[in-house]
């Protein structure tokens, strides 16, 4: 399969190079090292390689490339601790969303140097450019900003939000590659990849794709059962425990 994908890429690149300039709608093509991510029981995170090629425009070669991997959108509850009666307890709660559970952006240089802030915001490039929706109303702007900063900090601490401003390397002026770290706590669902080519602050190339992320194997069966058949799952846990306990008692008495 790895081979198949390489051949595909070669074919893509060749046809890309041969195609006449005018007929081309896009100046960037890209692919991933995997077409899906399987979280097996020994999953401890992995690296995803994103690669492709850019074609020079009439204005010259392209050197500003941005790669984004975005997890499925979810609503989150954010809580802030406060000291009450000497104990730190969750106090204020903010419901926010939908926001990606995972968000990684890699680029050839600082995002702010590639395009003006309004363009970045328009395409939701960078965690700070994401529009964060508060589902509860009447929250002071300063409080909102603090909560948003806290949210991004929490996600970064678990490697679920990442920004690498030198994360995309250009090879020979045409090919590019980027690596994104997938941590073990990544949420499951359909991820979206986005590839942007900028030139002089203008978007000149764009491609998007999908990357399904699933739990597989025994973990998948347990996860599925826990949420879809919780009664059967619970009884299963008890039966397993009874057998383990009984087995152990029998085993050690014989000795």
């Amino acid at each position: 399969m790895r081979y198949g994908r390489k051949i595909l890429l070669v074919v893509m690149l060749t046809s890309f190079a041969l195609a006449p300039m005018a007929a081309r709608a896009n100046t960037i093509i890209a692919d991933l090292s995997k077409d899906h991510i399987s979280i097996k029981s020994n999953f401890a995170g992995e690296k995803l390689l994103l690669f492709g090629a850019v074609e020079a425009t009439v204005d010259g070669p392209i050197s500003d490339i941005i790669v984004i991997l975005r997890g499925p959108g979810e609503n989150f509850t954010l809580r802030k601790k406060e000291k009450k009666l000497g104990v730190w307890v969750n106090n204020a709660a903010y419901d926010i969303g939908p926001l990606p559970g995972f968000y990684a952006v890699a680029s050839t240089r600082k995002l702010s140097q590639m395009a003006p802030a309004n363009v970045l915001r328009e395409h939701s490039i960078g965690a700070n450019a994401m529009s964060i929706n508060f589902l509860s109303s009447n929250i002071e702007p300063s409080e909102q900003a603090e909560a948003i900063a806290g949210f991004i900090r929490l996600k970064q601490a678990r490697a679920l939000y990442a920004e690498a401003e030198n994360g995309v390397q250009i090879i020979g002026g045409r090919l590019f590659r980027a690596e994104i770290n997938l941590p073990s706590g990544m949420p499951v669902g359909t991820y979206v990849t986005e590839f942007f080519a900028f030139q002089n602050g203008r978007l000149v190339g764009y491609q998007t794709g999908e990357l399904p992320v699933d739990i597989v194997g025994a973990g998948h069966i347990l996860h599925q059962a826990a949420y879809e058949m919780p009664l059967v799952y619970g009884i299963g846990g008890v039966v397993m425990a009874c057998f383990m306990g009984w087995g152990v008692a029998t085993l050690f008495r014989r000795r």
Binding site: I39, K40, S41, N42, F43, A44, G45, E74, N75, F76, T77, L78, R79, K80, K81, E82, K83, G86, V87, W88, V89, N90, A93, D95, G101, A147, G150, F151, R153, L154, K155, A157, S184, G185, I215, A218, G219, H220, L222, H223, A226, Y227, P230, L231, Y233, G234, I235, G236, G237, V238, M240, A241, C242, M244, G245, W246, V248, A249, F252, R253
Partner: protein, 308 residues
């Protein structure tokens, strides 16, 4: 070697988990206690979400109380009738506990409930155990064995209505006190992920006046059913039981318990209890300090509807 826990949704080193199971199993074998009240805080300390730690630990206790209880069952050291009354209260209590747990989870306060319950119980139990064992050690030094303390008879409690004959325990008492004790311990079991033997056993001896030879067997017998009920209810209401995590803890736990029992037989009872008391107090102190010291990060995030 890392293993991905499907409900906790995190990767943990498999040897860490088996080692923790082994360590707590060793201590429970050595001291003759269930170990849930040490394992749940330990799971929280390594980063398992508290709600998952509690529910999963209940599942593990089902296994350890089955393996411990079988020996008492075969020796006929179980008062089945008393066990059934206790577990009736216990199952009702576990239902109440799980509902309270679910409600506070939605409010984002379940971690606080778990921590506060632990700080309270660990400091009371640890303090009482330490005092009693230090007294015993001092008495042995003076050369006079300490007389077993029998607190004043609360016989009016046992003479409440709805009296029943418990042949195995040679008692004719009201079912109200065992129902209430069962209910209280069942609630605790659901909130803290413990079997509750450390409350149940003294309550049976001092409040119900049961003969000591059936106390531990009966306690283990009813713990099996109450923790089974806690496991199923948490699965249904909160989806917080991680069977894979429970399995790994069981593997470590049973091995540790066998070695612990061997070591425990060679050590002196009072010193052993003083040591356990110190461990219990230090776990309680750690949880207390975590509650009162300013956290590095004031914010916490959960998926909406998955509070706590």
């Amino acid at each position: 070697m890392q293993i991905y826990l499907p409900i906790a949704e995190m990767s943990v080193n498999i040897l860490t988990l088996i080692g923790m199971g082994g360590l707590v199993g060793f201590m429970s074998g050595m001291f003759g206690v269930g170990g849930g009240f040490l394992m749940t805080p330990l799971l929280i300390f390594v980063g398992i979400p508290p709600a998952v730690a509690v529910a999963t630990e209940a599942n593990q206790i089902v296994a350890s109380s089955v393996s411990g209880g079988l020996a008492y069952w075969q020796r006929r050291a179980v008062d089945v009738r008393m066990g059934v009354i206790l577990m009736t209260g216990g199952i009702a209590g576990s239902y109440a506990g799980v509902q309270l747990f679910k409600l506070l989870r939605e409010l984002g306060q379940v971690d606080l409930l778990i921590s506060l319950s632990y700080v309270l119980f660990l400091s009371v139990i640890g303090g009482l155990m330490l005092r009693e064992s230090l007294n015993a050690i001092a008495a042995t030094r003076r050369g006079q064995p300490l007389r077993a303390r029998r607190p004043g008879t609360h016989s009016w409690i046992l003479r409440l209505p709805l009296r029943m004959r418990f042949r195995q325990s040679k008692l004719y008492i009201s079912v109200i006190p065992p129902l209430l004790i069962g209910f209280f311990v069942g609630t605790m079991s659901a909130i803290m992920g413990v079997g509750g033997g450390f409350i149940m056993v003294p309550a049976m001896i001092y409040l119900l006046r049961m003969p000591t030879n059936v106390v531990i067997g009966t306690s283990l017998f009813q713990i099996i059913f109450v923790t089974a009920s806690v496991t199923i209810l948490h699965s249904v209401e909160n989806q917080t039981v991680d069977i894979l995590l429970a399995f790994l803890l069981m593997v470590g736990g049973v091995i540790g318990a066998q070695f612990g029992a061997i070591v425990g037989q060679r050590l002196r009872g009072e010193q052993l209890r003083a040591l356990l008391a110190l461990i219990v107090l230090s776990v309680g102190l750690k949880l207390f300090l975590d509650l009162i010291s300013r956290p590095d990060e004031l914010f916490s995030v959960t998926r909406m509807g998955f509070g706590g």
